[in-house]
C-alpha cells in the first residue's frame, strides 16, 4: 500500500490515482471545478499531459476532463496508488 501523501493535483504523476480532499477558494474557478464533479471524496486518475506539461487530462468518475495546471493547483488530494 502506497502511503497517503497529501499534495495538489498538478504535481500528481502520470498514471497515479488520488482522492480529492479539498478544493481551495470560493470563486468562479472553485465553483466550476465543483460543478464538473470534482468534489471532496471523488477519485481522480491522471491519464495524460499535453506537450510542455500543461494542460493535464484526468479521469473522474466515468468522464475525462482537461485541466490547466493553475486550475489543478486548487485541488488538494492524497495519493492512493497507480492504475494496475
Amino acid at each position: 500500500m502506497v502511503p497517503e501523501i497529501p499534495t495538489t493535483l498538478d504535481s500528481v504523476p502520470l498514471g497515479a490515482r488520488c482522492l480529492v480532499t479539498a478544493i481551495d477558494g470560493i470563486d468562479q474557478l472553485a465553483r466550476k471545478l465543483l460543478e464538473m464533479g470534482i468534489i471532496e471524496g471523488e477519485e481522480i486518475e491522471v491519464i495524460a499531459r499535453a506537450p510542455l506539461g500543461d494542460p493535464m487530462e484526468i479521469r473522474l468518475l466515468d468522464s475525462s476532463l482537461s485541466l490547466r495546471n493553475v486550475e489543478a493547483r486548487r485541488i488538494h488530494v492524497t495519493l492512493i496508488g497507480t492504475h494496475p
Binding site: D27, G37, I39, A50, E57, L61, D62, L65, S66
Partner: protein, 707 residues
C-alpha cells in the same frame, strides 16, 4: 371534439450527451434556427406530431450548469421560465442524462427541476454504458429522482415512441414543487427576494441571482427592478455568509450530496474500471510525440482540403460566372443596365459563391472532427501555446482555417464557449493571410523581387509570417484591454470517441452553405454594386459624350486609353486623386490608390483594378498572360517627374498593406453576423486599416531612408 393543442418541449442536457442525435430523431432533419438579441448561440426548433398531438421541439444549447455567466448561457434559463418575448413558456422539459456519467448529468437536472416545468429524463449512451459493463437500474433511478425516465438509443430509434408518450403524459401532469436540496436559510432567502421584488417573479430566478454573484440572473434582476434588487441580493448574501454559508460554492456541494443519496444502488460498475477503446486511443492521440505528429497530419489534411480540394469547384464557379458575364455582354445592348448586371450583380454574386466550396468542405471536416470527439483533443494539445497569447487551445483551428479564408474560420469559432475568447479569435482571424491575398502576393513578389531566385519565395513567406506574428499580438492586446476578463477556465470535457453520423454532418454542411449565401450574399452584393456605380458614373465626358459609346466606336488601340480616361473622372477615380496626398507617404500614386480603394469589398479585385488603372484592360486574377503584361506596365510606370513609380519600398508597402488590411466585405458581414453587432465589424475594419496604413507607412519611409 376539439383538435389537441400543440405542446412545446425543450431539450436540455450536458454537451456530448447525444442531444443533437436525439433532436434529429424527434424533429427530423427539417428544422429552423432561432436567434435572439444579444445572444450568439443558435437555438434549433423543429415540428413533429405524436398520435394526434402536434409537438414543437426546442433544442437548447448544451450546458453543464444553469449558473449563467453570459447572455448565451442565460438563454436556457430565460427560455424555460418563459421570459423571452414572443417565445411562450415550454410545456415540458426533456432532460438528457448520459448513462456512463449519470452523477454529473443529473447535476443540471437537479437545477432544472426548480424551474417549474414537468420533466422527463431520457437516458442516453446506453450502448456505450453496456460496453463498459455499467448498468443503470431504471426503476430505482425513477424512484430516486421522482421523475419519469426512459432509456433510449436515438441512433436506432429505440425508446423514442415511449419517450413521446411520457412527454405527453407529463405535459398534463403536475409541475415539481420549488424544493432545492440546499440549506433552509438559502431557500428562504430566495423566496423572500422573489416575494419582495415582485409576486410574479419565479423563486428559481431569485435563487439563481442569489447564488451566482455577478452572473446573468443578477444582472437581469437589477435591470428589471433597479438598485433595490442589487441591495436585496447583497444583504441576503451577507446574512448567509454570517450564518456560515459560502454562497459561491455551496450549491454544487449540496446538490452532489443530495444526488449521491438519490443514486444509491442505481448504478453498478465493474470494480476495476475497464480500459475502454477511448482510453487506448487517447494513449496515442494525446501522446506528446505521436499525438502531436497525428495532430499536424490532421491539420495538413484540413488545410489541403480547403486550399486545394476546393479549387476545382471554385474554378468551375469562376468559369461559370465568366461565361454568364460573356453571355450577358454579347446578348444585351451596352449601357448602364448591362454594365450593372455584368460588372456589378454577376461579379458580386460570383465573389460570394466562390467561397462556397471552401465553406462546405471545412464544415464537413470540422463537423466530423467535432462529432468523433477529436476536437477536444486538438484543443488539449494546442492549449499551452495558445494560452501564451491569452486565447485557449480552441482558437487554433479557426485561426488555421483562416489561412484558406477568414469566413469559414470565423464561422468555426462557434466551438469556443468563452465569449471573450471567441470574440478575440474572430477579431484577429482576418489577419491570417487568406487565399484571396495570394494573387496580389504572387503578382508583386514575382514582378519586383525576381532575383536572386529565393527572394520572391522569402517575401511570400514573410507575408504569411506577418499574419502569424501580428494575430497573436493583437489577441494579447485585446485580451488585456477591450476584452479584459477572467482568465478563461479550461475545464474541458474530453468526450468518448464516437463514430460520426453522416446525415447530421451533411445537414451541417448544407446549413453552413445556405446561411452564408443568404447573409453574406446580401451585403457583399450591395457593396459590389456600389463600387460598380462609383467606377461607372459619371459616364459622360466634359463634352457630354457617353464614354461607353466612344469606346465602342474607337479604334482598338485607343480603347484602353479611353477606359482610363473614363475611370479617372469617375467618382472613385476622383476620390483616388483627391486622396493622393494620403497615398503618397506609402509610395503610391492615385492609380494604385484607386485600385486599392476599389478592392476594399474584395481584395482579389485589385489585380483587375490595377489592370484598368494601368491601361492593360481587365485582368482576371488567374490569367497568367494578362498578369505578365500588367507586370511590364507596372515596371514601366513613372511619377509625373519621371521617377519609377513602383520601387522595392513601395512594392513592399503595398504587399504589407494587403497582408494586414481587412479588404473583404464577406468577412465583415460574417463578423457582424456572428457577433450580432455591426460595432465589432466596424472595429475590425478600423483597427486593421489603421494597422495596415501604419505598417505600410513605416516600411516605405524606412525603405526610402536606405534608398
Amino acid at each position: 371534439m376539439n383538435p389537441p393543442t400543440a405542446i412545446r418541449v425543450a431539450l436540455l442536457g450536458n454537451p456530448n450527451t447525444g442531444k443533437t442525435t436525439l433532436f434529429n430523431a424527434l424533429a427530423g432533419l427539417n428544422h429552423r434556427t432561432g436567434n435572439y438579441p444579444g445572444v450568439t448561440v443558435e437555438v434549433k426548433k423543429g415540428k413533429g406530431i405524436h398520435g394526434v398531438t402536434p409537438i414543437e421541439w426546442i433544442d437548447l444549447p448544451g450546458t453543464y450548469s444553469l449558473a449563467a455567466r453570459s447572455p448565451d448561457e442565460m438563454l436556457a434559463v430565460d427560455l424555460i421560465l418563459g421570459r423571452i418575448a414572443g417565445e411562450p413558456k415550454p410545456d415540458v422539459l426533456l432532460c438528457l442524462a448520459d448513462a456512463t456519467n449519470l452523477e454529473r448529468n443529473l447535476y443540471l437536472i437537479s437545477q432544472a427541476r426548480e424551474l417549474g416545468l414537468p420533466i422527463v429524463v431520457a437516458l442516453t449512451m446506453n450502448d456505450l454504458a453496456e460496453s463498459q459493463a455499467i448498468t443503470v437500474d431504471l426503476a430505482r433511478l425513477e424512484l430516486g429522482l421522482g421523475l419519469p425516465v426512459v432509456a433510449i438509443l436515438a441512433a436506432r430509434n429505440k425508446g423514442i415512441s415511449q419517450l413521446k408518450d411520457r412527454l405527453l403524459e407529463a405535459s398534463k401532469g403536475p409541475t415539481p414543487a420549488f424544493d432545492p436540496p440546499l440549506p433552509a436559510e438559502v431557500i428562504n432567502s430566495a423566496k423572500n427576494i422573489a416575494q419582495d421584488l415582485d409576486s410574479e417573479l419565479p423563486p428559481a430566478l431569485a435563487l439563481r441571482a442569489l447564488l451566482d454573484e455577478g452572473g446573468s440572473a443578477e444582472i437581469e434582476l437589477v435591470q428589471q427592478y433597479g438598485a433595490k434588487a442589487a441591495e436585496m441580493l447583497a444583504s441576503h448574501r451577507a446574512l448567509l455568509t454570517q450564518a456560515g454559508h459560502a454562497v459561491a460554492v455551496l450549491e454544487p456541494r449540496h446538490r452532489y450530496k443530495d444526488l449521491r443519496k438519490r443514486l444509491a444502488g442505481v448504478v453498478t460498475r465493474p470494480k476495476e474500471r475497464q480500459n475502454t477503446f477511448s482510453d487506448r486511443l487517447d494513449r496515442w492521440l494525446v501522446h506528446p510525440i505521436w499525438g502531436v505528429a497525428f495532430f499536424l497530419f490532421v491539420m495538413l489534411l484540413l488545410f489541403q482540403s480547403i486550399f486545394f480540394f476546393a479549387s476545382p469547384a471554385m474554378d468551375v464557379i469562376d468559369g461559370g460566372m465568366e461565361s454568364l458575364q460573356d453571355l450577358a455582354r454579347n446578348n444585351l445592348q451596352p449601357g448602364p443596365f448591362t454594365s450593372l448586371l455584368v460588372d456589378g450583380v454577376l461579379a458580386g454574386v460570383g465573389g460570394v459563391v466562390i467561397f462556397l466550396p471552401q465553406i462546405i468542405i471545412l464544415f464537413g471536416f470540422l463537423g466530423i472532427l467535432e462529432d468523433c470527439g477529436y476536437m477536444a483533443r486538438a484543443a488539449f494539445l494546442m492549449d499551452r501555446i495558445m494560452s501564451r497569447c491569452g486565447l485557449s487551445g480552441k482558437s487554433f483551428i479557426p485561426l488555421l482555417s483562416s489561412l484558406a479564408c477568414a469566413v469559414p474560420g470565423i464561422l468555426s469559432t462557434r466551438v469556443i464557449e468563452n465569449r471573450r475568447d471567441r470574440l478575440a479569435t474572430i477579431l484577429v482571424a482576418p489577419l491570417m493571410s487568406c487565399s484571396a491575398r495570394l494573387p496580389v502576393y504572387t503578382l508583386f513578389s514575382a514582378a519586383f523581387f525576381p532575383d536572386p531566385w529565393w527572394l520572391a519565395g522569402t517575401v511570400m513567406f514573410g507575408l504569411y509570417a506577418t499574419g502569424f506574428v501580428v494575430a497573436p499580438l493583437v489577441a494579447l492586446i485585446l485580451r488585456g484591454s477591450l476584452l479584459k476578463g477572467d482568465v478563461p477556465l479550461f475545464v474541458l470535457e474530453m468526450p468518448t470517441y464516437r463514430r460520426p453520423a453522416i446525415l447530421p454532418t451533411l445537414k451541417r454542411m448544407w446549413d453552413a452553405g445556405t446561411s452564408f449565401l443568404y447573409r453574406a450574399g446580401t451585403l457583399i452584393l450591395a457593396t459590389m454594386v456600389l463600387v460598380w456605380a462609383l467606377l461607372y458614373f459619371p459616364s459622360a465626358d466634359s463634352n457630354g459624350l457617353d464614354f461607353p459609346t466612344r469606346i465602342a466606336n474607337a479604334n482598338p488601340e485607343d480603347q484602353q486609353g479611353l477606359v482610363l480616361e473614363w475611370k479617372e473622372q469617375s467618382w472613385l477615380g476622383r476620390t483616388g486623386k483627391a486622396l493622393e496626398p494620403v497615398f503618397i507617404p506609402l509610395g503610391w500614386d492615385w492609380r494604385i490608390g484607386m485600385s486599392v480603394l476599389a478592392s476594399f469589398p474584395a481584395r482579389e479585385v485589385v489585380v483587375a483594378a490595377l489592370g484598368v488603372s494601368f491601361g492593360e484592360g481587365e485582368v482576371a486574377a488567374n490569367d497568367e498572360e494578362g498578369r505578365n503584361k500588367l507586370t511590364q506596365r507596372l515596371k514601366a510606370a513613372t511619377w509625373p517627374d519621371g521617377r519609377p513609380l513602383v520601387t522595392t519600398a513601395s512594392a513592399l508597402s503595398l504587399l504589407v498593406f494587403f497582408a494586414l488590411c481587412c479588404q473583404c466585405a464577406s468577412t465583415l458581414a460574417v463578423i457582424a453576423r456572428e457577433t450580432r453587432s455591426i460595432g465589432w465589424a466596424v472595429f475590425t475594419f478600423s483597427y486593421m486599416t489603421t494597422l495596415a496604413y501604419a505598417a505600410a507607412f513605416a516600411i516605405y519611409q524606412t525603405g526610402r531612408l536606405f534608398g
